[in-house]
Amino acid sequence: MSTFRFFILALALGLLTAATLAQTPPASPPGQTLRAAPSGATADSLLNGGPSAWVQVPAKRISLNRTPPLFETDEPAVQEISTADVRVARTAGKLVVQLSWRDATQDTATLTPAPNTPPETRFRKVQTDADDRFFDAAAVMFPARSGSDAMAPSLQMGDAEHPVEIYYWNAARGPMLMEAQGRGTTRRTGQIFPAAAAYQNGQWTVTFELPELSAGTPMAFAVWNGSQKDRDGRKYFSVWQVLE
């Protein structure tokens, strides 16, 4: 390759990178705040008490973005879900977050038993009845280190200096606590957290019990649509919402 052609290629690559960076939402856009309403209800009643426990907690409608194709070989995906409603209630030592969004299909399954069931308790091997489907899921992400560092981490699962915690819920597998230090590093911690989910009239309502988070903590939300074969970074995501 001649020097000139190499130069042109490098320039094109540079412009492409700049364009990509420009598309990345700013870490903490002004006005993207989320009010946590103090609630007299217990975390348990917020989780399991139904809609009546949430009447005093205002909802904020947030925009959901569809991730662009991550790989050249990705199948295209249309934007079927454009918004989600978030409610945040602050109760004794906990932050309870409710995320609801419209989804025409309920993609879930009952998976039993747990993978580590002792052999003697089994009558026969449980068989999968599908291998080509994906389940609806949702997640709340926030910085693993709270405190003075006000800058929100990268939306792509933070980075080595700014690790994130991800409270992930899956329609078939339930809640699981994950942690990440950048794209591709998401790891199941093996811990779970209290969560509740309901699907009614074409709408998912998922409630997460998080630890107490101080005002100023940024939070981001994600939704996976199983019928669109969402998994991995193929999903809907919000920009950072700063907790008030």
Binding site: F71, T73, L111, R124, K125, V126, Q127, T128, D131, D132
Partner: protein, 333 residues
Amino acid sequence: MSKHQYAMVMDLNKCLGCQTCTIACKKLWTDRDGTGYMYWNNVETRPGLGYPRQWDRIGGGWKDGMLQPSPLPTMEDYGYPWDYNYEQRLYEGSRKPVMPSPAPTSGVNWDEDVGSMNGDENYFFYVPRICNHCTYPACLEACPRKAIYKREEDGIVVIDQDRCQGYRYCIKACPYKKIYFNEVTGKSEKCIFCYPRLEKGMVNACAAQCPGRLRFVGLLDDPESPVHKLVLKYRIALPLFPEKGTQPNVFYVPPFNPPKRENYGKSILEDPRLPLDYLIYLFGPDVKDVIVRLEAELSRAQNGGRSELLQLLIGRDAQTRYHVRPQLVQIQG
């Protein structure tokens, strides 16, 4: 590039389709929850549907340096595994015969021995399949989690079950559809070339149990190994679908089948019972040269000469068929 590469050669002329390898593998590795439909080793009748059905036509592999992911095979393509109502018949007083449930519509080895017709003569043969532990694994490239790796010490391709998140990009990328998703664990699994056995100096379970003695195992880069001799020295073993671009490390001695009824004494290529086009479809255009070489060896032996190659292919004892060299393979880390 790995330092060494374990490889397997299967002589399709010796395969009797008994599925002993399949059962050996299943009892050893996939007798767990969520693995009912998983056959890390399966034996399929060719021509035929294969498992999952039509896997050879779905897609996957490489083209011009780009991954060619296919759609995911559906459970219908694998066939829903069924169970039998033994309890009702044996313990609950049912007078009805034992029946499978759900009603089988497809499954592993569904079209066993159906084969195809060439003129008025039927033909078929068996192709045992495991993960090909490719030199350029498409599954490895496709995994965004970097959960799949090729072992530096012996070239075996494995899925790290801690890193795997069950995204199934690997299944879409594998042109041989030899990775299976376990819905119970939410992770993908595949043949591990029995590396825990190899590390102890024992050969793969599928090979050890094979009554037809058709499997040869060793390091491709070890000149003393039978696989080196069959693939590189005598050049009579070929990979399946070489055009998929992954460079498999499982090779096949193409099947000869007897000649047509009226053709005894003629070259198999003159009027083959197995249509050459079909063998070329499976093994690529080199299959013709391989058949010429094999016929020459056969002819020499039939005329009283000695053929070292045929002695090797007969493979009377385990020392001939297997060169497992744990002392050569230094486990990394």
